[in-house]
């Protein structure tokens, strides 16, 4: 085990998989010479050379589409979109091509490819650079979607993503890049897809979260513990496949659930989680599922306003207390 950052854990995953498998290549805007806008690809060009680490033009749709073709042709591309916001320019290749090709061609071809995309809000980057689009990807069948909360999960999930023979949308939270945690050194350390991680056990209420929201949920759980409220924090880790079984089992135990989502509330992934909970254990619920969500507005720039739009620890604490106070 080593204590490293989320950024370095991702970097290590890329290096280990590129060493293990010579068909893994990396490309994106400024990933090679500049070593990535967030420096996740630091050292890759030096170690693996320009044939496997390539800078691209600013052509997001084509960054994804070339990866689709390369994957079809026997290469395992890891394409970086500088931020997830730019994925909207690539939605045609992501949704119309990447997720559908295997199915519409009758299963005759696999697309072993990863799209890495940093995102999330909280850095005052305003409306066009602060989006949480995870629900968009989760909505479409045909790809896996991972969104790690910790450095260990970041490494283990990215390695699994690169080895996956399905296309993977790999989301990274920009505010977590500098977060630190213990990460296994073993190059065969993998985190499976479709398995939630119970990051904290508790008997009173289940908090379901992902990525940075998991980090906030754990902080909220610490605060609530001071008032003798025991929260169980379930980290989704992958949004697709969605491991409903693990969070339903948790809610069956606690009888209460708060779902925390950074995305917009309307049709947000929290609605899907809540539905799965209702489907799985309606009769055991002691309160309605509560959602703590991003506000349904474009992200404002002003620090004061931005804070209102993104779930905060205090919001989660309040939601847990409201859930516990509910009498049905």
């Amino acid at each position: 085990m080593s204590e490293i950052t989320y950024r370095d854990a991702l970097n290590l995953a890329l290096k280990e998989e590129m060493r293990r498998d010579p068909s893994v290549v990396v490309w994106g805007e400024d990933v090679a010479l500049y070593e990535g806008s967030f420096k996740v690809s630091r050292g890759l060009l030096a170690e693996f050379g320009g044939e496997r680490v390539l800078d691209t033009p600013i052509s997001e749709n084509t960054i994804v589409g070339v990866a689709v073709g390369a994957a079809m042709g026997g290469v395992r591309p890891v394409a970086e979109l500088m931020t997830v916001n730019f994925a909207l320019l690539a939605m045609d290749q992501i949704i119309d091509h990447m997720t559908k090709i295997r199915y519409m061609f009758g299963g005759q071809v696999n697309l072993p490819m990863v799209i890495r995309a940093p995102g999330g809000g909280g850095s005052q980057l305003a409306a066009q650079h602060s989006q949480s689009l995870e629900t968009f990807f989760m909505h479409a069948p045909g790809m896996h979607v991972a969104y790690p909360a910790t450095p260990a999960d970041a490494k283990g999930l990215l390695k699994t993503a690169i080895r996956d023979n399905n296309p993977v949308m790999f989301l990274e939270h920009e505010l977590l890049y500098n977060s630190k945690g213990e990460v296994p050194d073993d190059p065969e350390f993998l985190v499976p897809f479709g398995k939630c991680d119970v990051k904290r056990e508790g008997k009173d209420v289940t908090i379901v979260a992902y990525a940075r929201m998991t980090v906030l949920a754990l902080q909220a759980a610490d605060e609530l513990a001071k008032e003798n409220i025991a929260c169980e924090v379930v980290d989704l880790r992958t949004l697709a496949p969605l491991d409903a079984e693990t969070f339903v089992v948790s809610v069956k135990k606690t009888g209460r659930a708060v779902v925390v989502e950074e995305c917009w509330r309307t049709c947000g992934l929290g609605a899907e989680i809540a539905t799965r909970i209702y489907d799985g254990c309606f009769d055991l619920l002691r309160a309605p599922v509560r959602r703590v969500s991003g506000l349904d507005v474009p992200m404002p720039y002003s620090r004061k306003l931005e804070k209102l739009c993104i779930p905060q620890v205090a919001d989660i604490v309040a939601a847990v207390k409201e859930t516990l106070a509910a009498k049905y």
Binding site: P57, G69, D96, F105, G106
Partner: protein, 326 residues
Amino acid sequence: MKETSLRAILPDHELVRMYEQMVLCREFEESCAEQYTKGHITGFLHLYSGQEAVAVGSTHALHKDDFILSAYREHAQAIVRGAEPRRVMAELFGKATGICKGKGGSMHLFDPELAFMGGYAIVGGQFPIAVGLAFASKFRKEGRIAACFFGDGAVNQGTFHESLNWARLWELPVLFVCENNAYGIGTSVERSSALADIHKRTCGYDIPSVRVDGMDVMAVHAAVKWGAEWVREQSRPYLIEALTYRFRGHSMADPGKYRAAAEVELWKSRDPLPAFAIRLIEEGIVTQAELGAIKQEAIAVVQQAVTFAEESPWPEDGAVWEDVYV
């Protein structure tokens, strides 16, 4: 071209094979139209009649393992590459025996064994995928090129420009082949492109290009032969604009009223099938009787394809969940 004898270019059996394929494609498409009116083929159906010289001339000029990608008017491309007509017809019928198990339909034919890498129905969607396949070939040192077919309408999509730039920048072996049939559904090239000479649009990307008569199978063959080898040797993209015409509407839903009758008749007088047949007869490569036999054989193959499709089973319900993930 007319001065050069066909025999100086290709052996007799290949020339005859090319003609057979053109006839087969025409009969296949006309049969599709009939099956559509009967309700056996549903959804969108875009027919290739009139454009056969492009698919046949090109495919015979490529290596068998070169990648071919196309758009949604691609039945002929797949069949000429080697897809069994009966399995293509079964796909159009939505049957389990179809080339994609009935999941793709008319617009999404695919067979990796034939390096036929797909029919794509988002205009311009195949450009970056072709670039990616060319990257894979170069990265893996396979010596294959990616031949990317597309219509005149696709050149105004962003992916066209992004992919031209990318292929030139990374020096990738992509042969872009524009099948300019003069209309994107009902909008003519002149009404959609500021520069209607599509082959000239590669100038901004330092990519050479040529315009060729897409109704002349041997002219297409010559252009693709030269272009493909240049692409392969230079590991650089090249673009061919083939001027052609679809004899039918954009799809079966389109009566084609935006085209003047005289224009359609003019192009039909340049039908690539009889034009090639005359040359084959003039050079003594086939007889009139053999031409008749070729047509009868094509009709029989297509009829067998229809029978096969009719008699094939529907997919099992469980198939709906298969092939989403590995």
